[in-house]
Symmetry: C3
């Protein structure tokens, strides 16, 4: 039983884009999906990926692991209109991930049991335009979810080894000195780093010097915000397994003056 | 068979407003609809129409052509609380458009096969307030979609010739010299003009001088963003049939310092 | 029949948070709910409560009175990670309100017929993190709505008298001189005050001096925006029963330079 011969009806869909909430494109994509499958449930996972940032897109798309098995669309696509491939990935959990072949879907696929099969997407709703979110991704998602098309009906099977690699790699650990990349900044100004926080218990209450290009601050490793005074910095888990620099009820982003993809240097104090 | 005698049950709804995503009014309107029809599917088409801009509202509401047949609510309504009429428009495709009689729904209706019938809306949920999005538009949408009321139960049939005309007219073509109006600016800073891009193939690779009140830039007519260098301007299709001034991975809005309803002058170079 | 012994299946859910629309947490919470109950309908009531403002959270959460009976989640929670209780409130209308015990849900509960029973929530999806929106509130909402758990299965019944009191009290009336608190500011810059507008008819067309810390303006009490000239101030109903300072097609917030929780002084003129 594989993608090649199996119709994969699904009615759960999710959207992750850098369109921003001001875009009518989000509603239009939903319309295109609902036109194929009128009982679709479409979850907006994130529409505020930093424009064109594959690193931020990777981090946000990883969150599909909290969604039910479904068809998950990713549109962070600086290469739209060029010859980059559009692809569908069948995960071992049973999801179908749809988006450009630029590595952004790889981490999420690995969190869903890994990649089972990959197909190109070679159809489009309209030849005229370069709105691939609507014409390629939402359109093919609707056809697949409704059972009108199998993955093999809309493209060719390709080797998973041929896919672009993930732009976001967490090969760092918290240690005496480590450079990290800002992979996300949330509304509160909390800064998420590409450092796994699995071993946070080994570092609780340690002091860490945290430096951007413009400023250094000293934070304490903590489990929770309430554990430091208002306005004080802490290094904690981001809720998803990475370290996060935060100020209790303040903005670490404003304090350190960084943005997504900035470099942050950490140094454990004695 | 007309609106007069026909109950028009629908469970697809869409919302287009200038409320902005920070408004609790969006959720409240959904609550009012769901209170009448508990299997409603409500699509947020756009909530970031520029405040009070009928031109921008018209352009955004045109996107309902990508949605399934349903009840489409439009709230861009600088005249709320005055004696402007509230209306429901039955389109030839079978949709019902609900909103104020200020011309903003006309283009969309024409894209859905044209206007079949028009009724006033003469009911409201609460006499007390001026929140017509909730008290008039969402309330009547729920009653109509649930089949509790026909269009003729909630208002009087009026002649379509009596409606306010559309504020957004595309009577321009790309030519040697042309003045256009900015009808939309998206999150990336792309500028959409009231010039139909149907004949873009005749102009591919031509250079165009694009001038706002404060600055001129030279753009090339292209099919896709990837076809120009990062940061360089292009004139392309907006994905919906109008010309769009864009910078590849940059903001044309910031470059030309324009806003919705600004004037942009185009001049084809030799 | 009470919460103790009754499974309370519901498929209508709503979310009110201060996460902002840029948060992936909203989509993640929906995923967690849908993983328990795949026909859930989840309404985003408001995600732009001013960060950590219990007063603004109270006002926004009151809007659940326009939603169908359901499970309504509130996450405005400056005390997350401390020992504040997580609670579920069964209202007399039949809703279940889920959130922190910090008073923010009290006004809404009173608008839904009052509090019937209250339970603590003593379960969580993950021990590791402090993302209570996902791990406590959405998780328990899904278990309750799906009928897998009763309120008494996930916590202990507590006395409603033991709950934190509401942070938002409207004990003011419009009168000769009155100090009020800004409880909300909307996208248009309209300023909502903690003064009940029930008796607005007694004051129609009266002039009112409205003063912030930095500026005073003179507004007229009106029913509707259209009733004053563009740019002119008015004092009207906010659509939900409180007084609202507004400029017709302008921003009262910018004019008076106030924010949520600022003090505004009103003085009725002769």
């Amino acid at each position: 039983m594989n993608g090649n011969c199996l119709i994969r009806k699904k009615n759960i869909f999710s959207l992750t884009t850098d369109y921003n909430w001001s875009s009518e494109g989000i509603g239009v994509m939903k319309g295109v999906i609902l036109s194929s499958i009128n009982n679709a449930r479409i979850i907006d996972l994130c529409h505020t990926v930093k424009s064109f940032s594959k690193i931020n897109g990777s981090r946000q798309f990883e969150m599909i692991r909290y969604l039910p098995v479904g068809i998950h669309i990713l549109v962070v696509d600086p290469g739209v209109g060029t010859n980059r491939k559009a692809i569908s990935i069948l995960t071992n959990r049973g999801d179908i991930l749809i988006g450009p072949d630029n590595g952004v879907m790889i981490n999420a696929a690995n969190l869903l049991g890994g990649i089972n099969e990959v197909y190109t997407i070679d159809i489009r709703l309209s030849e005229q335009t370069v709105f691939d979110g609507r014409d390629v991704f939402a359109y093919s998602a609707g056809l697949i979810g409704s059972g009108k098309k199998a993955l093999s009906d809309i493209g060719k099977k390709i080797r998973k080894e041929s896919l672009c690699p993930s732009p976001l790699i967490d090969n760092q650990k918290l240690k005496n000195k480590v450079d990290s990349i800002v992979v996300h900044i949330n509304h509160f100004g909390n800064i998420i780093l590409n450092i796994n926080s699995k071993e946070i218990d080994n570092f609780l209450n340690r002091k860490v010097k945290i430096s951007s290009n413009v400023k250094s601050i000293y934070a304490t490793v903590r489990r929770a915000f309430g554990n430091v005074a208002i306005g004080k910095p802490l290094l904690c888990d981001d809720g998803y397994g990475r370290y996060c620099v935060a100020l209790n009820q303040g903005s670490a982003k404003d304090e350190l003056k960084v943005d997504v993809e900035s470099i942050i240097h950490l140094e454990l104090c004695e």
